[in-house]
């Protein structure tokens, strides 16, 4: 009975994380900031490892606080360097990302030498291991994801407006700083949650791929969201299912592989329908 419940909770939690990440990825794609998600996923690693080092326990909310602080520092560093140097945006993003990530890996290899490091399973953050999530973690993440989803739902028109045309929204009287701060908070939280499920290296798959596949099928705003949710649901549940039954496969790469396959299928479908339209 309890095993069934934990598996249901696992499915529920992971799909909820994936759907939320898909929707955030939709806004990131509109702003052409898809690689920011990737950068953040790398950059929160030192926050997680340091939070573990100082608290000594693997409580998901403590790690989450560390991750959020690190994510904020990274975003601040990116905007600061963009303002004060003449380096290009992609260089600055890569630079900040790898600085944080190397700090995280240095501390991680230091933590692993200590006796408590091995039980913590912090390396699971790198490739993701769903089996390592406890029921409390999943419950906590589901609640957070629901809060984020409802926040996005309530403010949908405003953040869509900012993603679509930010100068128009500022002209209408909305504060650009406040709303970009809001979006940053949401992105950081979902990235910090997501890397516990799929790992640092492939978090960007959850953000980028569902919406990219959806974009193959439609350009209508509402349909796009619906398709994004569908693809995110499919990828997460199918990936979790396979990774539960063959425990040697890491979950992150599985989900990302499934999402890539759906992207290829949708793209090929689109090409065929276009061909049929043009010549048929």
């Amino acid at each position: 009975m309890s095993a069934d419940f934990s598996i249901v909770l696992l499915f529920f939690g992971v799909t909820l994380i994936s759907v939320t990440a898909g929707i955030i990825g939709y806004f990131n794609l509109l702003q052409k900031k898809s690689l920011i998600g990737d950068a953040l996923a790398h950059a929160v690693l030192p926050g997680i490892v340091l939070a573990f080092l100082f608290s000594g326990v693997r409580e998901s909310w403590i790690l989450l606080i560390g991750a959020i602080i690190a994510g904020f520092l990274a975003l601040t560093a990116i905007s600061f360097l963009l303002k004060h140097t003449k380096l290009k945006q992609d260089s600055v993003i890569a630079l900040v990302m790898i600085t944080f990530f190397s700090l995280g890996l240095t501390v991680l290899s230091y933590v692993q030498l200590k006796p408590l490091g091995n039980q913590a399973g912090l390396t699971d953050f790198l490739f993701g291991k769903i089996a390592a999530l406890s029921q409390n973690d999943l419950f906590f993440f589901s609640v957070l994801c629901s809060i984020i989803l409802s926040a996005v739902f309530v403010t949908f028109k405003i953040i869509f407006g900012f993603a679509f045309d930010s100068s128009f929204m500022r002209f209408k009287g909305f504060s650009g700083n406040t709303w970009s701060f809001f979006m940053n908070v949401i992105t950081i939280i979902i990235v910090s949650i997501g890397i516990q499920a799929v790992g640092v290296v492939l978090m960007s798959a959850l953000l980028i791929l569902p919406v990219t596949s959806a974009k193959q099928l439609t350009n209508n705003r509402n349909k796009l969201i619906i398709w994004t949710v569908c693809f995110a649901l499919f990828g997460a549940s199918f990936g979790t299912f396979i990774s539960l039954y063959s425990s040697q496969l890491p979950t992150g790469p599985l989900i990302s592989m499934i999402l890539c396959t759906t992207l290829f299928i949708t793209a090929v479908l689109k090409r065929f329908t276009l061909l049929a339209k043009n010549y048929g």
Partner: protein
């Protein structure tokens, strides 16, 4: 002695990375470098599955081809699937990298030459084991003799192609007008990059390579007044960071590759804070 060999290995990884990194930085294609360094993983795994050993020319060639395919894949995604550039890079990276990790998990257990830790950190510490001896004296390691030709090729490439590179990086359309094929130069840079990604895979791993590419170059661009200085400074900074990284890593007994990257970042932060000429930084590129 071990420290000395490690420093030489690290420097031989870092010099070509710094030179190619300057080109990538000025060409706004840093993230393509990141994609290539991730994408050599499936190439290495597949070639290893076919051939059976790591130190083999075929492994090298197969993996370099995989890195090279990435760039074609990114272009393909953009042209045929109508995916915007950042998402296309992200898609190609995640696709190839997850393919690599899955193959790794499927066909290899925990304790092989290729393990997941190695993908992230690299294992520069283990390169000192395979030493090349002439008589009784240590002459170098296998890694050093693998990396040395590439370093020489990249240095010669930048040295002899300098004027062409300069005009390409400054203004691509003008260079085309002069009758110089940009595609040829771009593809040769990417080919060198994927060769480098394969050869340095053992030392720094797939994920960390972007640090060696971007950090020395970015520091050099803060300091330099022209392109020649940018290349020279990038190499000097990379060498300093390698020496610091290896010595500090040995001292506090952690993985060396992340420490090398972090000392690069440290140098960047130092230069950023103490650089008085920050207002006068040149913008090298027109495009």
């Amino acid at each position: 002695m071990d420290e000395f060999l490690l420093i030489i290995t690290a420097i031989l990884v870092a010099i070509p990375a710094a030179l190619l990194g300057v080109i990538l930085l000025l060409n706004k294609s840093v993230m393509i470098g990141d994609a290539i360094s991730h994408a050599v993983l499936p190439g290495i795994v597949i070639a290893y599955l076919i051939v059976g050993t790591m130190d083999n020319t075929y492994v090298l060639m197969g993996a370099s081809i995989a890195g090279f395919i990435t760039t074609l894949l990114i272009d393909f995604f953009q042209a045929k699937f109508a995916i915007q550039k950042d998402a296309a890079i992200g898609t190609a990276t995640t696709f190839l990298f997850s393919l690599g990790v899955l193959l790794l998990a499927l066909f290899f257990g925990q304790n092989t030459e290729l393990d997941q830790e190695c993908v992230l950190f690299g294992a520069i510490e283990t390169t000192v084991i395979e030493q090349v001896l002439v008589g009784e004296t240590i002459f170098g390691t296998r890694a050093i003799f693998q990396l040395l030709p590439l370093t020489i090729i990249v240095v010669l490439f930048v040295f002899f192609g300098f004027s062409r590179l300069k005009s390409w990086l400054f203004n691509a359309s003008y260079t085309t007008l002069l009758g110089i094929s940009i595609t040829k130069w771009r593809l040769s840079v990417l080919l060198l990059l994927s060769l480098h990604a394969v050869l340095s895979f053992e030392s720094v791993g797939a994920v960390m390579l972007i640090g060696l590419l971007v950090l020395p170059g970015a520091t050099a661009l803060l300091l330099a007044k022209n392109l020649k200085e940018a290349f020279v400074y990038a190499v000097i900074i990379a060498i300093i960071a390698c020496v610091i990284g290896v010595l500090v890593g040995f001292q506090i007994n952690v993985s060396i590759a992340p420490v090398i990257i972090f000392s690069n970042s440290f140098l960047f932060i130092g230069v950023f804070i103490f650089d008085r000429n920050r207002k006068h930084q040149l913008n090298f590129t027109k495009n």
